[in-house]
């Protein structure tokens, strides 16, 4: 069975890395477009629409990777993977805060990148195969109920749609299927990112933070996605 090749946009200022990545990803069956800097990438997005995935280096020219990711996030919810030669802890967190879904440090094996890409795209495929689960009411506020529809891939607050990235949406779905139960950071890493026990748990924390700013009435005092100290996170549907 042939499926339509996923489109990947590589934003990387190092020509040689870009060329090598293109070769490797094309071998893996991806359709690759390249951009040497953030400005070109953003212009390409405006002209041709969003690809299915983006790989962004943090050290670019004029505009750095963080800004590039933030700009993309205004309009698109596609999965973004950051590749960084600096595993400086601030950079990783800053990239995730800016809206990246995951990160890989150089030098990576191509297996690692493709594993990350696959994990982030899994939802789309899973939705086709399995029966769409019923809607979940996360907040029964009569004025503006918060409703998660896993089937249609949307979250609505009253009549307005809440814009979540694919990863945030999957994270919310995982929490919702086990509503009322604590999910540890490592199990969330496993379920959403396909990373195991030794994955970077800050990925989960940053995504939870971003999710809260979108669905909680007061993100500083979260009621729906609550932190269980030392254990993980729990979703409490508000009645």
């Amino acid at each position: 069975m042939r499926h339509v090749a996923a489109k990947v946009l590589i934003v990387e200022d190092d020509d040689r890395i870009r060329a090598a990545l293109r070769l490797a990803l094309e071998d893996e069956g991806y359709e690759v477009t390249e951009a040497a800097d953030a400005e070109t990438a953003l212009a390409g997005l405006r002209r041709h629409g969003a690809p299915d995935l983006m790989i962004v280096d943090l050290m670019l020219g004029e505009m750095d990777g963080f800004t590039c990711i933030r700009q993309v996030r205004y309009e698109h919810d596609l999965p973004i993977i950051v590749v960084s030669a600096r595993d400086d802890t601030h950079d990783v967190v800053a990239a995730l805060e800016a809206g990246a879904d995951d990160y890989v440090t150089k030098p990576f094996e191509i297996k690692e990148i493709t594993a990350r890409l696959r994990a982030l795209r899994r939802r789309a495929r899973a939705a086709v195969v399995t029966e769409p689960p019923p809607e979940v009411v996360l907040d029964a506020d009569p004025d503006a109920p918060l409703v998660l529809s896993p089937g249609s891939g949307t979250v609505r607050r009253g009549d307005d749609q809440v814009h979540l990235t694919l990863t945030e949406f999957r994270l919310l779905c995982e929490l919702a299927t086990e509503a009322g139960l604590v999910l540890s950071r490592s199990s969330l890493l496993e379920k959403v990112w396909d990373r195991g026990f030794f994955g970077d748990e800050r990925i989960v924390d940053v995504h939870i933070r971003r999710l809260r700013t979108k669905i909680e009435k007061d993100p500083a005092d979260p009621r729906i996605v609550v932190t269980v100290r030392g254990l993980g996170y729990r979703l409490d549907a508000q009645r």
């Binding site: 190092d14 070769l23 490797a24 071998d27 030669a85 595993d87 195991g196 030794f198």
Partner: protein
Amino acid sequence: MPSARRVGPGLRGRVMLTFAFGAALVSLALAISVFTVSRGYLVDQRERSAERQAGADADLLRSRLDTAGTYPARVLATLDPPVDTVLLLRWQEDWLTSEPGVGLDDLPGELVEAVESGTETTVSVTVRGDPYFAVALPLAGLDDQDAWLVELAPVRELQSTLRVLGIVLVSCGVVATLAAAAVGLWASRRVLRPLDTLAGTAAQIAGGDLVTRLPESHDRDLITLVVSFNTMVDSLQRRIDRERRFFADVSHELRSPLTTLVTSVEVMRRHGGDLPERSRLALGLVTGELDHLCRLLDDLLALARTEAGIEQDSPQPIGLRELLTHTVANSGRDPDLLTVADGAADSVISGRKLALERAFVNLMDNADRHGGGLAAVTVRDAGSAVEVLVDDAGSGVPPEDRERIFERFATRPGARGSATGTGLGLALVRETVVQHGGTVECVDRPAGGARFVVRLPLADLP
């Protein structure tokens, strides 16, 4: 760190002791001088009053002896001296006394001699256990008569007054000393409060919080300390920032070309079937060395970073059983190699997951590469710590090498080429374990082979 060495009384204690000692010294000096002066004055007073009394008695006695003639004993009885005063009259060769209990035998020899030789004198004497001032006077003006009056004036009262004075002075001294100690304690607390702040701040900084500074001070005595301290922390922070930047730069400069290499070689391997035999062999060598280079860079950066105290993640409670289960499984090893002793099943340590994983993987890799294969990994309880034993099936490590193998690039002779270790694995293990407050050592495994013992302190559970 508190050592076995004896710890002195501390600054506070020393200030308190100094105050107390000073007060005791001053009180003592004051007490001695007050006592000496008072005593001198009182004794002098008493002596003079005794002499005045004796002079008056002598005049009275003489005038009565003039008129009453030859009955001195009777005359002596007519005198009315103050209470407890004893009068003795030497009349020609006889000694007459106003108090039947007291006689010539009771007087000290020197007094009697002074009278015999005709010297006026006033001396302190003890008669029948009681202290007196003895005043000896001639009864001048009596014709041809050698008559002397010896008056014994009691000083018991004076002595008890002096005793009370002494007790009062000593009590005052003791009270003053205690009060000074209390004031010293209070003052030292007050004065040393900035020191407490300093100690707290220093501890915070030692704990890795480099943003903390001492609050600015306008105290002339503290300003130098505060400024120097803050400058020192500033430069420490600058140095760490510089190192952090350096590692980031090195890592960037080396990792970028490696990324291209790894990715390109991967593409070549994928299409290995298209390559001629000789190129494929060469590609195999490139792949191997590239892999080694990547691990070397990884270990080198990790080691440098660990040594510089630049951490990737923050410490968190880690269940050692869970950590090792995942470590053994993730590195593709048989889960049955891991044994967790009953007492250590729930051991929780505070640590950095990634760093510890790397350390244990390094130990297991070391067993596989140099120790004839990993034989067992055991977690066991060791009181306030937990021990992880990594055993191999090799020929063991000779005692003289057991320290050396933890040094960098201390691979055994001939290892290069055959084995694929980076030479940094065990150095990184030691650095990581030490940073976690633990120890690692190499010993003999009872069943033969080498045993690496990692001992990590248990987390303080709230």
